[in-house]
């Protein structure tokens, strides 16, 4: 399944081909640890790693910010 991914940290968009259908499959493909990011779906809603994706859906990968 092809997913459009926007990487908030790099202000960059890319397409990713995954075997599964969940957000965690995209993170695994991009070698991004789920413990440092949160994900928004095509409606800009924050979703969990088990969120089920549709073909050509876009998600945003947003770095967690803990500094103050």
């Amino acid at each position: 399944m092809k997913i459009k991914v926007y990487l908030e940290e790099k202000d960059k968009e890319e397409f990713v081909e995954i075997d599964g259908f969940k957000v965690k499959d995209v993170l695994d493909k991009l070698n991004i640890d789920s413990g440092i990011v949160i994900i928004a779906n095509k409606d800009n809603e924050l979703v969990t790693n088990d969120y089920i994706l549709e073909e050509d859906e876009g998600i945003k990968i947003i770095p967690v910010i803990s500094g103050g």
């Binding site: 202000d11 413990g35 440092i36 949160i38 800009n44 910010i65 803990s66 103050g68």
Partner: protein
């Protein structure tokens, strides 16, 4: 007279100003965002501020921690801020607490609203549980590099609904990624603006506001409650003392905070500058509440140095 320009703004008016005057706000963390947010709140005429921080002012803070100056270096942040705010707005009642927030002392926070200006996820988890249990709204803020975020928690969802799987040890810090003072001011401004909206009964944001100052982009993300969230189901692991650490690596400094028993600083046989709250030398900062900041390469080394020089 002091607040005339604020009262002229129709969303606040005299009624809103009175609400601010009756409000009590706690600011947790007095670093970059905290020092800025505390100043904005004081200037806006908040009735009472509770300021909590565990740290001392260092030279490299001055780049982004706007309320401090060179004379404050080596002083505890809570006291330094209290002194400055007293000269900015003497009408504001300020209570400054030099402490590391934990499950034993968090009850010191008795406020209408809490502003999170901390630099670590652990404290935010504790704060989240406390505020959820006591139905106190709180506003999360965070900055790093050229990014920052603000998110209000008023009961519909909580911090754990969004951030339950975070690995704090893998997150970037100001020491590894740096931080611009400009994003600090923007995020602090947004945080305090949301605080004023909440306190003056205006509509406030229920989305995560994420801003990048390099490309001037503000994104808004919708947040939903997680029905399986432990905190929303009143399970409070941090508040009950089941989670949280006695040894903490300070935000990207190669320094560990070790907690021990309280003692008399004057009885320590260590060289350094002694103040009302702490003893500082090049390797340690030791507080009279039993905490010590120790330069070390690991937790074990920090514990070992603590035992060697301070005792058990």
């Amino acid at each position: 007279m002091r607040y005339s320009r604020q009262e002229l703004f129709d969303k606040i008016g005299k009624e809103g100003q009175n609400l601010l005057k009756k409000s009590k706000v706690a600011v947790i963390g007095l670093g970059a965002t905290g020092s800025s947010s505390a100043e904005l709140l004081a200037r806006a005429g908040i009735g009472e501020l509770i300021l909590i921080d565990r740290d001392v002012v260092e030279l490299d803070n001055l780049q982004r921690q706007a309320l401090y100056n060179e004379d404050d270096v080596g002083n505890v942040k809570a006291e330094a801020i209290k002194n400055h705010l007293g000269k900015i707005n003497s009408e504001v009642k300020v209570r400054a607490l030099v402490m590391d927030l934990d499950y034993k002392n968090i009850n010191e926070i008795k406020a209408d609203l809490v502003l999170d200006c901390t630099d670590n996820i652990e404290t935010r988890n504790l704060l989240n549980e406390y505020c959820h249990k006591n139905r106190i709204p709180w506003i999360y803020s965070g900055v790093i590099g050229d990014n920052g975020l603000v998110l209000n928690f008023t009961g519909d969802y909580c911090f754990n609904c969004v951030f339950d799987n975070i690995k704090p040890e893998l997150l970037g810090t100001c020491d590894t990624r740096g931080v611009l003072n400009t994003i600090v001011k923007v995020i602090s401004g947004i945080q305090v603006n949301e605080a004023i909206k909440l306190l003056t009964k205006q509509d406030y944001s229920n989305e995560m506001l994420y801003f990048n100052i390099s490309n001037n982009k503000l994104e808004k993300y919708k947040v939903k409650k997680n029905n399986k969230c432990k905190v929303c189901n009143s399970i409070y692991d941090y508040l009950d003392g089941k989670k949280g650490n006695d040894i903490v690596k300070m935000c990207g400094r190669g320094v560990y905070q070790v907690k021990g028993r309280k003692f008399d600083l004057t009885k320590l046989r260590l060289e350094g500058k002694l103040t009302k709250y702490c003893l500082i030398n090049k390797d340690f900062t030791i507080f009279n509440d039993g905490r010590a900041f120790i330069k070390a390469s690991s937790e074990e080394k920090a514990k070992s140095l603590y035992s060697k020089f301070i005792g058990n």
